[in-house]
């Protein structure tokens, strides 16, 4: 009896810690001003999405795919996607129009800031990448590779709203209006 009760207690504690852990990861990006990024994107959305000539192809997969990611993998997937955009999409895109370029640059800087915030959060707790997170990351990279670089970059930029919506949902970011 005593052993059972002790084991139950331990299990409960572990569960609590796990939930706390996952939630803590979800709260890593709380201080980010997502609304600013979303507004910037809305201003260039028309211009960028108009250049996307392949509507039946997607890079970031669909929202459903991203929605299927479990809370434990959120940290890994967020980290990977931020790296994808900063390292590949923003670098590959060549924007001729200065106004649009300005907005894209502001979005890119925000992503850099988010990366740093996430890194600080991760140093306290280890951000393990599960199998599913790894799979999703790989699929995205493959989709990007299937298209021509410029088209892929344009398409990825056009899908920023999907990425931002996913971050909103999974990181409980409080956006300041």
């Amino acid at each position: 009896m005593k052993l059972q009760s002790v084991s139950l207690w331990l299990l409960g504690i572990i569960l609590i810690l796990c939930s706390v852990d996952s939630r803590s990861f979800r709260r890593c990006l709380i201080s980010t001003d997502m609304h600013h990024i979303e507004e910037s994107f809305q201003e260039i959305k028309k211009a960028i999405q108009a250049k996307d000539t392949f509507p039946n192809v997607t890079v970031l997969s669909t929202l459903e795919t991203l929605q299927s990611i479990k809370p434990l993998d959120v940290c890994c997937v967020t980290k990977n996607l931020l790296a994808f955009y900063v390292d590949r999409v923003f670098k590959d895109h060549q924007e001729p129009h200065p106004k649009i370029l300005r907005k894209i640059s502001s979005i890119a800087n925000s992503f850099l800031y988010m990366q740093k915030t996430l890194q600080q959060c991760q140093e306290q707790r280890q951000c393990h990448c599960g199998q599913e997170a790894t799979n999703v990351t790989r699929v995205i990279h493959d989709n990007y590779d299937q298209l021509e670089v410029r088209s892929a970059a344009i398409k990825s930029l056009g899908e920023l709203d999907v990425f931002l919506a996913w971050i909103d949902k999974n990181h409980e970011v409080t956006s300041s209006a």
């Binding site: 507004e39 509507p55 997607t58 929202l63």
Partner: protein
Amino acid sequence: MLLRLTVLLAALLSLRPGSDAHGTELPSPPSVWFEAEFFHHILHWTPIPNQSESTFYEVELLRYGIEPWKLIPTCRQTLMLSCDLTAVTLDLYHSSGYRARVRAVNSTQHSNWTVTNTRFSVDEVTLTVGSVKLEIHNGLILGKIQPPRPKMAPAGVTYESIFSHFREYEIAIRKVPGNFTFTHEKLRHENFSLQTSGEVGEFCIKVKPSISSRTNKGMWSKEECVSLTRQYFTVTNVIIFFAFVLLSGALACCRALQLYVRRRRKLPSVLLFTKPSAFNLSSQRPCPETQDTIHPLDEEAFLKVSPELRNLDLHGSTDSGFGSNKPSLQTEEPQFLLSDAHPQANRTLGSGEAPELGDSCSSDSSNSTDSGICLQERSLSPGTRPIWEQQVGSDSRGQDDSGIGLVQNSEGQAGDTQRGSALGHDSPPETEVPGEEDPAAVAFRGYLRQTRGTEEKATKTGCLGEESALTDGLGPKFRALLDDEEGWHPPALAKGYLKQDPLEMTLASSGAPTGQWNQPTEEWSLLALSSCSDLGTSDWSFTHDLASLGCLAAPGGLLGSFNSDLVTLPLISSLHSNE
């Protein structure tokens, strides 16, 4: 693979001008766009330039990244420039978005596709409000915002369920004739209340929704108007009114209570003197009113006086300003408390007050000279005192005087003996007095009782009920009279009192002829009479004394004049005879 794609693209692009070269190729619609509200997604397009009657448009829809293009048959109608795609885009709020494309088709040809510029996603939905309901409560406008409730929405999907957080509404108000004023404040809830700060009239309100975490645009709702009328019978007004009534009632009660507590108490009937009726001494000299000088005595205390004292007429407050000093009373009984207007006259009975009385009396002596009152001597030795001391206390003998003006003798004379000595020593003390005392210091010494026979209650000069005011009035007159009288000199054995005035040569010779004394005595008797009349129906025990003096016989009235009165003459003669 990329290379292949690029080659294909190039080929297609090169081929396109060729296809255009067919000539009858229809132009594609210039632009296609979505106009969407909550579960009301409408695709719009602009018509082709040369539109014929048989031209119709085809619409295809694509779910972004998932499906191929799907034709929408419901939109295949002639000359329609919009199409409702809500039914096929129900999943808009949970998906990445849609793309739609339109082309013009006529009988023989079809144009190229024109695709929507942007990916149609939830970001493109314009937010609207279903309805706004306004109510008025107590001068407040209460509003309730109803979100849109479209028919096409699937079961269980509502505006609140999709946009669960950060719903906000901006309000614009206007008073009917004027323009809209924007509050620049955002409501976080669907229920709101507006303060109109007492204004009356018609108010119109419109609302614009938004989601603070999203970039969706909002659309102003329709105007809802409500008219405010001035309400007089609001709950607050009624409560205030009743509170006011209660407060005023309470205040009135308090005030009434206060007045009742401080009400002017009536004098006991004993102390009320009826005015003298009919007795008219040819009033050419209006004497000061005796009624001013009434010193009401506490009847109860009066009753406690020992019978001896009662017999005295010396209970002197009723005198015209005699300061009565009744030390014996004080020792035996509670004192009479005299209340009167005149401070000097208000001598409480008490031995201790002799010096004070003396002061006051002396101060007022100028006024209350005659009427034999206020004697106050400060002198300690009874011998030096003018005989005045009829202190009741000591004496219990009603003095033969009108028993009035008790002199305040702190020594407290023993009694009759003193008086007797006083009596006997009328002249010597009199003579002594002016010599001994400083005339300047003592203005008035009161009256020397002249001839005091065995009877003591003989004269009534300076009678009861007179007040110092009366005496004041009479005094000067008296003095005047005295002055007027030629050859008058106060007889030593006068029945009444000789005014002792150090300044004047009056006093107290015992040998004054009675005849000459008549007039002053006359006047004094008049005084007595008047004072007696004032007594009226008082219950004082010594009324019988007054009777003996003949006071009762005389009707009341102030001394009208000092003219000799035939009525009084017999009395005087009687007095004289008594002696």
